[in-house]
Symmetry: C2
Subunit: 198 residues, 2 copies
DNA sequence: GCTGCATATGCAACGATTGGCATAAAGCGG
DNA sequence: CCGCTTTATGCCAATCGTTGCATATGCAGC
């Protein structure tokens, strides 16, 4: 119910082929919505059948044909309607945190390694994002509307990476402390079911 | 490839019925991994067929029978192996950010409302999490291993909610500025494809 | 007494997503 | 000139996830 919308949004910029869409998904919209090329091609067929987009085949000399998709009036309307629809909270899939729930049953070293790996990832991304920000969005208040949306995406990326990094530091410390000095004994104490969230 | 693992982790605490698992998913593991009860029941059947868990039917007077599932040795081993496996980065599905990409094409007021709604959600959650933290995890360094995992989950929740709130404030300001004073003209300037991320 | 909620489990249909594979040609490096 | 990567599109199978529905009972509140 939403990959189609992400595609519509992307086509707003200009008509594109499936291949282009797939590549752009890796750089822009895809930061908030991942999709593989198979998924995109299939979705494009469906959307064309529904009349949301319109594909035009362009023959190319000595290259495979390309199919360039553009928004139809229906597609634009569908997009407008979707934007006006209340947004569901983001769905979460944080494997690492699920693993941490097994802490006490599993070797802490294994988890330490994975947290460190995660830390590296966040560091890389943060550096990337900050570079992009400096290059492309020097002063946000001067941006045109469409750029503001993109800037805000980047901004959320930066804030979340920073928060994640702070968490990694805490986690390394807290899990690391288990490794060497402690006796790691006696886990089954009284507590009925110490809740966490939601 | 991971709901089964989340269930295994949850069964680590104690044997549980599908119903209990579904309810706990709303409070604990489910913060990082959502699942509906239908999904859980189906998964339980599969896992029982694979020998990862073992279900025992308990007849109850004047209540539907319950099926209590417990980890088998195979299940425990599968869990250990999974924990030792490198963790994939979390998958993201942030609908709101996709919508922001349509900024300039769509009415800013609509988006403002949705950002405000999101802000409310984050505020609520943050308050919840902080209350839980104060109640259950007064001093993290004194926690037993298993509690540390849970504490870290809560901690990440708090950090991410705070970051999200900071973002909401920025977003409201930047999108709100579009609403009243500006002429909102001329969007199609030079820029080829200002990238964002990844 | 009716309504709604909580307990407790499940099926069926559909849609979303992933992974493997296939085709086809151009350009690049060794 | 051989193999690798890039461009460009697609099928198929399997799994994962969501929505709607069904069943059965007990308890609390109106």
């Amino acid at each position: 119910m939403a990959l189609s919308h992400a595609i519509l949004v992307s086509l707003l910029d200009r008509p594109q082929t499936g291949y282009e869409l797939a590549k752009r998904f890796e750089r822009t919209v895809g930061f908030f919505w991942k999709a593989s090329h198979q998924q995109i091609y299939q979705q494009l067929h469906k959307m064309a059948a529904q009349g949301l987009i319109d594909g035009e085949t362009v023959a190319q000399a000595e290259r495979p044909n390309r199919i360039v998709y553009a928004l139809t009036a229906d597609g634009q309307q569908a997009l407008q309607e979707w934007v006006a629809t209340p947004t569901a909270p983001p769905s979460v899939k944080e494997e690492l945190l699920v693993k941490l729930f097994a802490l006490g049953e599993a070797a802490p070293e294994t988890l330490l390694r994975q947290i460190a790996a995660r830390q590296g990832l966040h560091r890389e991304r943060l550096a990337e994002y900050q570079a992009l920000r400096e290059q492309h969005y020097p002063q946000p208040s001067g941006l045109k509307p469409r750029q503001r949306g993109r800037y805000l995406g980047l901004r959320l990326g930066i804030l979340l990476e920073q928060a994640s990094l702070a968490w990694c530091a805490e986690a390394l410390e807290l899990v690391g402390a288990l490794d060497e000095p402690a006796p790691r004994a006696n886990e089954n104490a009284s507590d009925g079911d110490p809740p966490l969230a939601r």
